[in-house]
């Protein structure tokens, strides 16, 4: 089949799948945590109910807030949806003129980061500014790790296109368990945890001002504004977990387009993301949030891993 048409089909499937999957993933993460902690939990469909509720409410906006409070959440959601289009989640067939280039993907993600930070500032409250400031500090410090770890992963493939990286790992799986790849994946995972506001950098379940990053920025948003902020953040988490799972376990990804392959791809990525979500949730139970000013140490550690991975792949390989 024509490569462009199959790329379009895969992109559409990825977007639809992840819009469905992302709230479910959050529901699963929360439910697993609740079960292990001995609580009943709200069930895995609660995020969907939350969304329905939020979309059916009148948003309340302060008189001095600007268009940013309306546009920012949409920009965040659109940037996360673009991630779902660009990343090789269900299949590695991508568009010719806009491949899943690592730097483009990171920049698209940064659009969402910026939008969220500006929404936080727009409220004109101390909380919003605080969340925004911390969020941007973490984002700034994460970026070196993020770029270097995928740089390390890109060296065996000889390109920064993520679909090509996944395909290379599929063809020669011994790359996956090479020390370089393991180091890079660990560094990438830490960076993604920090970027998506998970433990130990941010506690997604808290509303205390001393601990929160993400929640502080969304305090002034309500109704559909809040809904888009939440959907955008969930989609980002789901897409990035999908990326990590496809880098670590690339099997099941569609490389040659076929209907059966597509079905397998959809099922496999859904299972991979949900399993990773469960693992994340279990892992988070054993972690406490670190102090804000210890986050740089954590990130410096992950940066060291990523740097080691890159230089090792040049000098050892």
């Amino acid at each position: 089949m024509n490569a462009v048409i199959s790329a379009i089909i895969i992109a559409v499937v990825q977007v639809v799948l992840f819009v469905f999957l992302a709230p479910l993933l959050i529901g699963v993460i929360r439910q697993v945590r609740a079960t292990i902690e001995g609580r009943a939990g709200a069930g895995i469909w609660q995020p969907w109910r939350d969304l329905r509720k939020l979309l059916a409410k009148d948003p309340v906006r302060a008189a001095e807030s600007s268009w940013m409070l309306r546009a920012g959440p949409v920009a965040l959601t659109v940037s996360s949806l673009l991630l779902c289009v660009l990343l090789p989640l269900v299949g590695t067939i991508s568009f010719l003129t806009i491949p899943s280039d690592l730097f483009v993907v990171v920049s698209v993600m940064l659009i969402g980061v910026v939008a969220l930070a500006l929404v936080g500032l727009d409220g004109g409250t101390a909380f919003g500014g605080m969340g925004s400031s911390r969020h941007m500090t973490v984002a700034a410090l994460v970026e070196p790790t993020l770029l270097l770890s995928v740089y390390a992963l890109s060296i065996p493939a000889g390109t920064s296109t993520i679909s090509a990286i996944v395909e290379t790992r599929l063809l020669s799986p011994e790359i996956i368990i090479s020390p370089v790849s393991v180091l890079a994946l660990v560094a990438l995972s830490i960076a993604i945890m920090a970027e998506t506001g998970r433990l130990p950098v941010d506690n997604p379940g808290t509303h205390l001002e001393v601990t929160m990053l993400h929640e502080a920025m969304t305090l002034e948003a309500s109704g559909r504004d809040l809904a888009w902020l939440e959907v955008g953040s969930w989609l980002k988490l789901a897409a990035l977990l999908g990326l990590v799972s496809n880098l670590a376990v690339p099997w099941g990804v569609v490389t040659d387009f076929s209907a059966l392959g597509l079905a397998v791809g959809v099922v496999s990525i859904a299972v991979k993301v949900l399993v990773l979500g469960v693992m994340l949730s279990i892992g988070e139970i054993f972690l406490a949030k670190v102090r804000l000013f210890q986050v740089p140490e954590l990130l410096a550690g992950s940066f060291a891993l990523a740097f080691l991975a890159v230089t090792a792949s040049y000098l050892v390989a």
Binding site: L55, A56, K57, D58, P59, V60, R61, A62, E64, S66, M68, V78, L81, L82, V85, F95, T97, I98, P99, D101, F103, V104, S107, L110, V113, V114, A117, L118, L121, D122, G124, T125, A126, G128, G129, S132, S133, M136, T137, A139, A140, L141, E143, P144, L147, L148, Y151, T159, S160, L219, E220, G223, R224, F293, P296, F307, V310, T311, Y314, L315
Partner: protein, 690 residues
């Protein structure tokens, strides 16, 4: 080599005459003529006419420069030859493609600045002296890239420096800081000039001529000396660490349109100088040149953005961010030199084109940002971010233009900054290997380090510009001045909008622009960079493509369902407006409780405590009755420039002590001076007789 062709043509074809032979000659003559006319107009025009009349002439000068640069960049040859009475070669002004590109950059900024200054200048900024200096500054800047021999290069450089110094000092009477900035600027720009002069002198002694167009093989010894001198000289012009100390003093104190011209255009002359040396005068330098440039560039990028991210003064922030951007440009230039040394030609070409694109895009966004800062000062009289806020609703056009330019500075897609940084990163990650083999240990350490530096710089730039835009334009006004702000006059809006459009156009159509830019430095440009699709850019040598318009189309497609559901939801559930934000239930009416720029950067100050060395001063006043109750707390935090306090201060103190000692030697006694001159004469006679 185009330069050589131009030189040969010059020898045969051009003799100074009143009738221009080529488009380039006409353009250069017209610039000089318009410059003279503008100076005369500034001297004679009535005060109420002055700004308009000279502003229009300045715009014409810049437009002429723009067209001349365009002709030169597209490969036009010819130029101007000015015979002088001194016993040396005539002055040659014949821009090659690279010179044309920089003429284009400089005069493009010139157009924006001239339009803006027509309605922004008032008071001392609109004095006769200031308006005389403006055309001098513009013409000087536009002639530097046209110069094809070292004498005219240095001459144009000095004209440019002279014009900018006078413009900087326009407002010296009302603010003491301006005078101090003027002294720093003069000292530092003359220091740079000295290094450049010395570099050219070494080069002229080694090659036996002042013309750029007759490159000769130069011994490694003099070449190395000249390289170091040029790096210091042009590094100072390009605001690189540690010669950047004038930047945070001068750019904030100059009138905003002058800061825009300085940061957007004048600094590019330093970049042009760097390219001139590395590409044209001393091509094929050794690997350590590349490493030296990369180290200086990387250090400048990191230090600049770190200082910018913690600054609360909008113009200081922009000034330091200029150091950052120029650092990235030099990082690209250095990487290109290093990679060329290892024969990784594709990556080297891409790095060089990326450096040029960064320079072009920096000219667009930084001049817009400085003009935007000028608009804020015009409307509020404030440049301290801690006292701004809520300007988005009050100054929508300024807010939009500043926002777009901030996105460019933060390298977010679909702006110009993003494309340039993307290309630089692509060239770096493909530079470590050539055909699957590692090129060298140096490159395998240098490339990841460079990527890390760029990544950290980009991350901090993101924070910096979120802070600058968010604190100034969003939320509630933090002072009465900000609350009373009104949109600036139409002409200022126009130049802001033009600047923002440039930023977007460069970001949306990078392909054709990169291809054009590639022609100026590469002998085989189509192998280095090509235009694909709807204005997309492709790097065939390293197999990377980017089409920003596709990105826009894709985002529009995924946005459709989101927007449809918003419309559906908004029909049933219109939004409600409340007076005050919720603020977690604890919000009071006072906007002072918002986060400020200082508090926004506080986590960063803590994280980078060791580099920034902030000095903090906390004064607690207790209530008279009980020391457990606090009446007021005053916190003052100052982040000084480490280079200034640690490197320049000791040297300055040394000179000061020397000055005190020398006072005894020169105590005013005429007898003593006569005996000094007698001894000096004696020494000269002895030396001559030996």
């Amino acid at each position: 080599m185009t330069g050589m062709e131009a030189g040969l043509l010059l020898q045969t074809e051009i003799e100074a005459g009143l009738i221009p032979q080529t488009g380039l000659e006409a353009g250069l003559l017209l610039q000089l003529g318009l410059g003279a006319l503008a100076v005369l107009t500034a001297l004679t025009a009535a005060p109420f006419l002055r700004s308009r009349a000279v502003g229009i002439l300045c715009t014409l000068i810049a437009v002429t420069g723009f067209l001349t640069g365009l002709v030169a960049m597209l490969g036009g040859t010819g130029g101007l030859r000015i015979s002088i009475a001194l016993p040396m070669d005539p002055l040659l002004l014949a821009p090659d493609r690279l010179g044309g590109l920089f003429m284009l950059i400089v005069s493009g900024v010139g157009i924006l600045v001239s339009l803006y200054s027509m309605s922004s200048t008032h008071g001392p900024d609109a004095s006769r002296t200031a308006w005389v200096a403006m055309p001098v500054f513009l013409v000087g800047m536009q002639l530097v890239p046209a110069a094809t021999d070292s004498v005219s290069f240095l001459l144009a450089l000095e004209i440019m420096t002279l014009g900018s110094t006078v413009l900087l000092l326009a407002d010296h009477a009302s603010r003491a800081t301006v005078a101090s900035a003027g002294i720093w600027y003069s000292a530092m720009s003359q220091l740079s000039f000295f290094f450049i002069l010395a570099g050219f002198a070494v080069l002229a002694a080694a090659s036996g001529g002042t013309s750029f167009s007759t490159p000769q093989a130069i011994e490694p010894g003099p070449a190395n000396v000249a390289f170091v001198l040029f790096l210091l000289g042009f590094g100072g012009k390009a605001e690189l660490v540690p010669l950047h100390v004038w930047v945070p003093r001068v750019l904030p104190e100059a009138p905003s349109h002058v800061s825009a011209a300085m940061s957007g255009a004048m600094v590019k002359i330093g970049v042009y100088g760097g390219l001139l040396v590395c590409v044209r005068l001393l091509p094929d330098g050794p690997a350590w040149w590349g490493i030296a440039i990369m180290v200086v560039g990387g250090a400048s990028a990191l230090y600049g953005i770190l200082q910018a991210s913690v600054s609360s003064d909008l113009k200081v922030l922009l000034a330091y961010s200029t150091t950052e951007n120029m650092g990235l440009v030099f990082l690209g230039l250095g990487a290109s030199l290093l990679l060329r040394g290892y024969d990784a030609t594709a990556a080297a070409d891409a790095a060089l084109v990326a450096a040029l694109l960064l320079a072009v895009s920096h000219a667009a966004f930084k001049s817009t940002l400085f003009l935007g800062a000028g608009a804020i000062i015009h409307a509020t009289g404030e440049r301290n971010l801690d006292r701004l806020g809520g300007l988005g609703a009050r100054m929508p056009v300024t807010a939009a233009a500043f926002g777009v330019a901030s996105l460019g500075a933060a390298a977010i897609p679909i702006t110009s900054g993003f494309v340039a940084e993307w290309m630089l990163l692509q060239s770096l990650i493909h530079g470590g290997r050539l055909d699957g083999a590692v090129v060298s240990v140096t490159a395998s350490v240098a490339m990841p380090l460079a990527v890390a530096v760029i990544a950290l710089t980009a991350g901090l730039a993101l924070l910096t510009f979120v802070k600058a835009y968010g604190i100034a334009f969003l939320a509630r006004p933090r002072s009465a001045e900000a609350a009373k702000a009104r949109e600036v006059p139409p002409l200022m809006q126009l130049s802001l909008a033009l600047g923002a459009l440039f930023v977007l156009a460069l970001g949306l159509l990078p392909g054709p622009i990169a291809a054009l830019v590639g022609h100026t430095v590469s002998s085989n440009p189509s192998a280095a960079v090509q235009s694909i699709g709807l204005g997309g850019v492709s790097l065939p040598g390293i197999g990377a493509v980017l089409d920003p318009i596709m990105l826009v189309v894709l985002s529009a497609l995924v946005a459709i369902p989101v927007i449809v559901s918003i419309i559906v939801s908004a029909r049933g559930h219109p939004h409600r407006t409340v007076d005050l934000p919720w603020g977690g239930g604890g919000s009071r009416a006072r906007p002072r409780m918002q986060y400020t720029a200082t508090s926004y950067a506080e986590p960063l100050v803590r994280v980078f405590d060791d580099v920034l060395k902030p000095s903090r001063d906390v004064q607690v006043t207790h209530v008279a009755e009980s020391r457990y109750l606090v009446e007021r707390v005053r916190v003052e935090q100052r982040v000084s420039d480490v280079f200034e306090t640690r490197l320049y201060r000791p040297v300055l103190n040394l000179f000061q002590r020397y000055g005190i000692v020398v006072r005894h030697v020169a105590n005013g006694s005429i007898h003593r001076y006569l005996s000094y001159s007698f001894v000096a004469l004696l020494i000269v006679l002895i030396v001559v007789s030996l």
